[in-house]
Symmetry: C2
Subunit: 548 residues, 2 copies
């Protein structure tokens, strides 16, 4: 039996494009004599469709698309994900389903049992969990069809106190009683650099535990915050990877079931910074493609965050589609402008310089009857950042560019940024990357050629909003800060636990207090490309008015 894996990039709600992609893959593999083609979870409508699932017209369109695809399944069978309607008037109206199509029709529908409801997942909002188990009989083989989380009997260990150690039901336990020959898992499993190995290990240990091969198909592509890496694979019953598809790219493979026990794929080690880099390039690109925009703008300060964001943007969109403004103030150092110009020239992109002193002066004049002789403080610092934000949005509105936000995760965490100023943008590119990883990424980008001026990387970080300002005036060193933040945000550790890990009490308490106090700022930030197991955004829900 020849089974094909189709790892595709879908667009939520774009039934025409998704259907065409699926049908084109069916035709392709029909000509290659495949018996079965496997597509990913909710491929029909794109994942995650969120509250579009609550619209009757949206569900009707999924049903029409499914019928169109079923018609093409002659002399070939497929498995494809889509919502299906629960015929029982009790329980949620929908299942998250895998459709098995054969002989020109939908032959059977298999529903998802384990509905993830943590971090970015909220599948109980839409779906009824499955409670019935059956196999597919196809060409003499019995196939256990599962959907993503169905294999994750144990949830990842992440110090989330509300989460279970184990689900109350194990679909693999139930299905294995029926003696399947192999398992198919269709998934929509988002990338996070610190959980990717965990996912591979889940697949390996399931194979070994049940002595069954698994055909695992994930989607690729980004939907605003979420980036899907693909990394579809086939594992044999020993838990060895027999074949593996590409990261972050559409990819296909056809593999013979009879050969997989002897086949062994040699995985190469890729550094996590390179993976984050590739994830962000895809995230950026898809945000533009899927919203129908082509051109980006950003403010280039001479600092490292805007430099790294710019390089990513150029790689995602092409240098002809990226434009920058340099917006120096009276507090900008000469080297900042020089470094920014050098970077723009290295990349060959359009840049313009718009000094902000006169506007800043006029703002101060207008406010002086109210501010009187109160000393220069954060109010004036923020006004400068907001003037820059306004100028950048002016170009965005005039020319139809999307403004890219350049804040990193460390800043976003402690609120070291100006709301309606440098926090502006249609998309936050680095908002899930800690500053210490931004440094690593800059060096990674410079591996072959010096693209980012070394001075940008090695000089002490500064917002340059008052004379001789340094980030280190108000923040701990980034190595310390990021280590504390990772423990508090990704690991959900308490202050006591972090202090017990060897950090100074005062620094820990100050850091946590800054994180909690700035929840209101993050409430209004642009969507953040998610690359970690816990990004700011809809996967982290902290009450705004809580006492911490």
């Amino acid at each position: 039996m020849k089974i094909a894996l189709a790892q595709l990039n879908y667009h939520i709600g774009n039934f025409k494009s998704n259907t065409a992609k699926i049908i084109s893959a069916i035709e392709k593999f029909k000509s290659q004599k495949a018996d079965l083609v496997v597509f990913s979870e909710l491929a029909i409508c794109g994942y995650p469709p969120k509250d579009l699932l609550e619209r009757k017209d949206f569900i009707e369109q999924t049903q029409i698309a499914l019928e169109k695809i079923a018609e093409k399944c002659v002399d070939i069978a497929i498995v494809v994900g889509g919502p299906s309607i629960n015929p029982n008037p009790k329980g949620k109206n929908l299942y998250n389903s895998a459709y098995f199509m054969s002989n020109g029709e939908i032959a059977s529908v298999h529903n998802k049992t384990l509905l993830p409801n943590y971090d970015i997942f909220d599948e109980y909002r839409y779906f009824e969990p499955n409670t019935e188990f059956s196999l597919i009989n196809f060409k003499g083989k019995k196939i256990a069809l599962t959907i993503c989380e169905d294999l994750w009997e144990k949830q990842p260990v992440d110090n989330n106190f509300a989460k279970s150690e184990l689900y109350t039901i194990s679909p693999m336990e139930e299905l294995s009683k029926l003696n399947p020959d192999f398992v198919i898992n269709i998934a929509a499993s988002p990338f996070s650099y610190n959980q990717q190995d965990y996912r591979t290990n889940i697949l390996k240990s399931t194979c070994k535990h049940y002595h069954l091969p698994i055909f695992y198909v994930n989607q690729i592509g980004a939907h605003a915050e979420l980036i899907f890496d693909g990394d579809s694979m086939v594992l044999n019953s020993k838990g060895e990877i027999a074949c593996r598809l590409d990261y972050f790219k559409e990819d296909f493979q056809i593999i013979d079931l009879h050969n997989i026990e002897d086949q062994k794929y040699e995985s190469k080690n890729v550094d996590y910074i390179e993976k984050i880099h590739d994830a962000l390039v895809l995230g950026l690109k898809d945000y533009f493609v899927k919203t129908g925009f082509t051109q980006a703008i950003l403010g280039l300060s001479g600092g490292i965050d805007s430099a790294v964001t710019l390089v990513l943007a150029v790689r995602a969109l092409g240098k002809e589609n990226v434009r920058v403004l340099l917006l120096p103030s009276e507090f900008s150092s000469d080297h900042s402008i020089k470094d920014a110009v050098e970077l723009a020239e290295n990349l060959g992109i359009q840049y313009e310089i718009v000094p902000i002193q006169n506007i800043f002066q006029e703002m101060q004049n207008s406010l002086s009857p109210i501010f009187k002789d109160l000393p220069f403080n954060v109010a004036e610092e923020n006004i400068q950042a907001r003037i820059r934000g306004t100028l950048l949005m002016g170009l965005s509105n005039k020319f139809g560019h999307i403004l890219l936000n350049t804040s990193n995760k460390s800043e976003a965490a402690v609120g070291y940024g100006t709301l309606y100023g440098d926090m502006n943008g249609g998309l936050s590119v680095l908002g899930d990357v800690y500053k210490s990883d931004v440094f690593k990424m800059a060096w990674f980008m410079n591996k072959e050629v010096e693209i980012i001026p070394v001075n940008t990387i090695v000089k002490p970080p500064s917002a340059e909003l008052r004379p001789d300002q340094k980030d280190s005036d108000s923040l701990p060193d980034y190595d310390i800060l990021d280590a504390i933040l990772f423990r508090y945000i990704e690991k959900n550790m308490s202050s006591d636990e972090i202090i017990a890990d060897g950090f100074a009490k005062e620094t820990v308490l100050k850091t946590i207090s800054m994180v909690n106090r700035n929840e209101y700022k993050r409430f209004q930030t642009p969507p953040i490309l998610r690359v970690s197991s816990k990004a700011f955004g809809f996967g982290r829900k902290i009450p705004l008015v809580a006492k911490h």
Copy 2:
């Protein structure tokens, strides 16, 4: 048996204050010889605690608070809501529980069965559903203890296609088999003007169906977006309301179980605009109280939205705590400034006038090398709004005021507002109130005395960002617009269904397209005080990059 209802305002994570309030109510009713005091759902930690439930230290604090309270339950019993730990290693770690405390200890724990997971609710994220049922035996009576949604066997009909008609299990069905004498329901049920009657009807029909009285205790108070109205009540077995607590205020009542069958409360009819008004005043007030701020600032344009917002702010915070800026441009009409000044003087609040022409001119000068001779358009309109936003935030930063956002729901829906301009603010006061209801609220505010200048209410709405601009240049009349929006947003109707309701096809399609196209703007708006069954915010999750 004398049962007391304690309708209190809790603060999320403020264990000290919540515990003190609960203990003080226990003492109060002990002196009044009550047998049992009932508090609301998750009273111990405040509702909704969201991801704080994932923190081990947060759960530890709830357990300490519960023990402290149990010690006080001597010669009196109580029912109080809090999370409890699931001893089974399978399933979520927590239950959403009602603690029955008596004789100085926790006598029994009863868990929530129906976990709402729609709109603003996502309780499956944190809690395991209950599957076991038992009654409390107390002083010769058998009590069925339920938590909020447990009574909502049928979910409200709201055209949400993903939602169930019926839950798969009915806790009331199970509990009624055990022959209880009455039902207690502890709730955290947020206010929405168009579902409040539905809630009362659920209570009435449950009483009638099972021939049982219900003691229903809801919390009051606001937690950022969510406003809880209280409206706790006792219903007898005929489904008649025997007593009813106040709206939007802390309130207490003690009632004798033996008298309720003959007692009948005369409910008075309150107009929905008055309810929305009271809800918003509470929402505003609690946002300040619970974040520790006292002073608000807003931009007063002479238009109706900022006028209504200002009156609400003065009623919530006191006139000494509210300050306004008038920020006229070259396009502001004389009457706008006059109307704004008149309102400020009617209310006796501090106002200052800061013209923005010079700053606007300087911005245009700075951008002219890039904009060249491109015509004045939305870019220049938005720059004016952003200058205003920057000046207002300047005062916010300098003096520690919270900026109030004045956008209404109609504008938020169609994107008629400037991101980082008039969409700025710590809290959106009217973001869930359609423009046609803003007009009604202005008349309601003027019922006794003309507070808002009539000219502000009757003149054609205008953003005044270019010469002779009117809202009606780019939008349908608000009566039509709001009727379409209500059907699309609250009712989840498709364009075909709305057109079939008698609206012009072109207007419907244009409106829906504006709503969908502006998802990205709403992504970055401040928290919106929720007063309807479907507010923009975390109860409405639309993918940003979907094709509609």
